[in-house]
């Protein structure tokens, strides 16, 4: 079943066209990877899906669960099951991570007509996930992302994802800046979410993450367009040969 379909998406930022006609179809339960050199539009795609201001869609559509995603507000998209693990998560002093997470979970539950979760039950739920991601309880008492290292921020994003249980998760360069051990921890957090009801879009520069989270489909994004799509072998090919022939093809 098609979960999300992007058709001929053109996006400009500050008057400059970054995405030049993206076509992408993701079914439920699938893991897709988008790879490409820096500055090529990878983050633009995740920001447009998130609904961030400053990204102008000049053409094309995004259909999510049959609905027009672009006409939905950011918070609505999240409650409908979309989650973005940002590349540079913002620090919010004064807002404890656990308080924020519980509020977000309850917002989703309210939307789904489910009962609100109380503090005690929430802590029980979160403990399991904390163990897998090697995050201490002390850390989530701290204000959101404040003083977290790059790696800790990435793990915190994955923790949020595992608590909110989205149907479609976009992970924007979640692997960048992580050493091999941290990478494995994050990967097991993500794999723990993997299932028939969840789809993933991994946006990454390096092939490394895909050793641990094996994708169903790989797409190469260069110059704002998807130049080639393939299976997991495509990632290995890129690892060996680099992006140069794609960059040349895009420039031509």
């Amino acid at each position: 079943m098609v979960l999300i379909e992007i058709e001929d998406l053109h996006v400009s930022v500050a008057g400059k066209e970054i995405l030049r006609g993206i076509d992408l179809k993701i079914n439920t339960g699938e893991v897709h990877a988008i790879m490409g050199p820096n500055g090529t539009g990878k983050s633009t795609l995740s920001n447009v899906i998130a609904g961030r201001d400053g990204y102008e869609v000049t053409a094309g559509t995004i259909t999510y669960k049959g609905q027009d995603l672009l006409s939905m507000e950011s918070d609505e998209r999240a409650r409908e099951g979309i989650f973005i693990a940002f590349q540079y998560p913002v620090e919010i002093p004064g807002v404890a991570t656990s308080t924020f997470l519980k509020t977000a979970l309850n917002a989703k539950r309210r939307h789904q007509g489910l009962e609100q979760i109380d503090a005690v039950s929430f802590l029980k739920l979160v403990r399991e996930k904390l163990k897998i991601l090697e995050i201490s309880e002390e850390m989530i008492k701290r204000p959101l992302n404040v003083g977290f290292s790059g790696g800790e921020k990435k793990r915190a994003e994955v923790l949020q994802m595992s608590v909110l249980e989205p149907e479609f998760a976009v992970l924007d360069e979640t692997d960048s800046g992580l050493d091999i051990d941290a990478l494995q921890v994050v990967a097991s957090g993500i794999n723990g979410q993997r299932g028939p009801k969840t789809s993933f879009l991994l946006i990454t520069h390096y092939q490394r993450l895909l050793d641990f989270i094996v994708p169903d489909h790989v797409h190469v994004l260069v110059g704002g367009k998807i130049l080639r799509s393939g299976g997991k072998e495509l990632a290995l090919e890129l690892e060996a040969a680099g992006y140069s022939k794609f960059i040349e093809a895009a420039a031509a």
């Binding site: 918070d75 999240a78 409650r79 002093p93 924020f100």
Partner: protein, 445 residues
């Protein structure tokens, strides 16, 4: 100049004022009357009152509180936080209310206490020698007004070396029945050397007519004395709350204060603090949350007049509707006050277009080996923060509330007594909650 509505009904009450006939009380009152009579209520043309005009107050004809009927005030309102093991001192319209207070029920009371009216009739030397010593009628006409008509309030003394382990909770309930009333309570705290006490002052109003509470508090901290003072202001919507605190710190003494202002039509809390002894230190923190047309003014003057003294101040405000916040913070370091560390920070968040914040920091430094800093920012909630919270499913109002709460909690967390921290967090949550409800109602219309 006229007394702006105070003389007609007040003049005839003169004979009934506490302490009349005692020279030390009479001269203070006379001086107050003369100076207030000459100056009247402060106007915009006075530098310190530029941002807090009292023309609306001046238009109201207030009667003395003693003429009001408070027989229906029998219990402490729910909004007033409760603290474990607290000693309650309840004042209704400024006057001590023994029924609701618990202070006389405690056999182990380790401090001296007398309602102000009783104290002014006896001639206790420590009261006589100190009343009017730190806050004098010549300071400004508001203190003069209080000095002229002072009634109600209390005097408290903590003896040398005494550590009062129970929290002293002063609850001030305001209630105007049929007509606007005013009261001018006077508080005097004397902490002898090495003593220690925590005092909480709650100000709450019951709905009714408008009222004007004009309080003066004088605090003397002896060497090595420690005082923690927490103030929460939840006056009635239509109430005027003026409070003047004058504090003197002797060597090695410390004073920690936090004031939370969450309601009241017009609130001005003015503090004059003198770090008079070596190594004395003070913390003057606070938070205010305003909506509608509320007005809150925090004006402080911290005077470093001894070496190695420290002062610190962090005030945070959240404003909605068309409210008005004012912060005037003056730090003075005298020529001989070397090795001083003084800092001040005021941060305000405007939740919509409409509110206004006036901020006037002043550093007056005459010594050359000091560290002084100040900061003032006024802005809106960070759109990046709002977006992030919304990207996790929080609707705009909830996101705004969570960020606002976090912003204020940041300074509330500095309160060193955790029970007070939690109580003040609750007051803030309630304020935010009622805003959300108000927005929901408005959206449904």
């Amino acid at each position: 100049m006229n007394d702006h509505g105070f003389s007609p009904t007040y003049a005839h009450a003169l004979g009934a004022l506490p302490g009349t006939g005692h020279e030390w009380m009479d001269s203070l009152r006379q001086s107050g009357r003369a100076l207030f009579g000459a100056a009247g209520l402060p106007t915009r043309s006075m530098e310190s009152w530029r941002y807090t005009p009292l023309s609306d107050l001046a238009r109201i004809s207030f009667s003395p509180a003693s003429m009001g009927d408070v027989s229906d005030v029998v219990s402490v309102p729910m909004e007033v936080p409760a603290f474990s093991g607290e000693v309650l001192l309840v004042f209704v319209n400024g006057e001590f209310n023994s029924n609701m207070s618990t202070v006389f029920e405690d056999p182990d009371l380790d401090f001296e206490f007398q309602p102000f009216n009783a104290a002014s009739e006896t001639n206790i030397s420590w009261v006589r020698s100190r009343l009017g010593g730190l806050a004098t009628p010549s300071d400004n006409s508001i203190v003069a007004l209080n000095s002229a008509y002072m009634a109600g309030g209390a005097v408290l003394r903590i003896g040398k070396g005494k550590h009062v382990d129970k929290v002293i909770h002063i609850v001030n309930i305001g209630h105007a029945g049929a007509e606007p009333i005013a009261w001018h309570p006077r508080f005097l705290f004397v902490l002898d050397g090495y003593s220690k006490v925590t005092v909480i002052e709650s100000h709450v109003g019951l709905p009714g007519q408008t009222y004007f509470s004009n309080q003066v508090v004088e605090i003397y901290l002896g060497p090595k004395a420690q005082m923690k003072r927490y103030i929460d202001v939840q006056e009635d919507l239509e109430a005027f709350h003026l409070a003047t605190s004058a504090i003197e710190l002797k060597s090695d003494s410390s004073y920690e204060e936090f004031s939370l202002i969450a309601n009241g039509r017009k609130v001005r809390r003015e503090t004059k603090l003198n770090l008079a002894g070596e190594r004395a230190s003070s913390v003057l923190n606070g938070a205010y949350a305003l909506e509608g047309e509320r007005h809150c003014d925090i004006t402080t003057f911290v005077n470093h007049s001894a070496v190695h003294t420290k002062s610190s101040q962090v005030i945070k405000g959240v404003l909605a509707g068309k409210s008005r916040g004012v912060f005037q913070g003056h730090i003075k370091v005298n020529p001989d006050a070397q090795k001083v560390d003084g800092n001040q920070l005021h941060k305000a968040i405007l939740l919509n277009r409409g509110p206004e914040v006036d901020c006037k920091p002043e550093l007056e430094i005459y010594a050359d080996d000091v560290k002084c800093s100040h900061g003032a920012t006024t802005g809106e909630l960070d759109p990046e923060h709002l977006f992030y919270l919304m990207s996790r499913g929080l609707d705009p109002s909830s996101a705004c509330n969570l960020l606002t709460k976090g912003f204020l909690l940041d300074v509330v967390k500095k309160i060193s007594e955790s029970e007070v921290q939690h109580a003040y967090q609750d007051i803030i949550s309630r304020w935010l909650g009622s805003r959300l409800e108000g927005e929901d109602k408005a959206a449904q219309l």
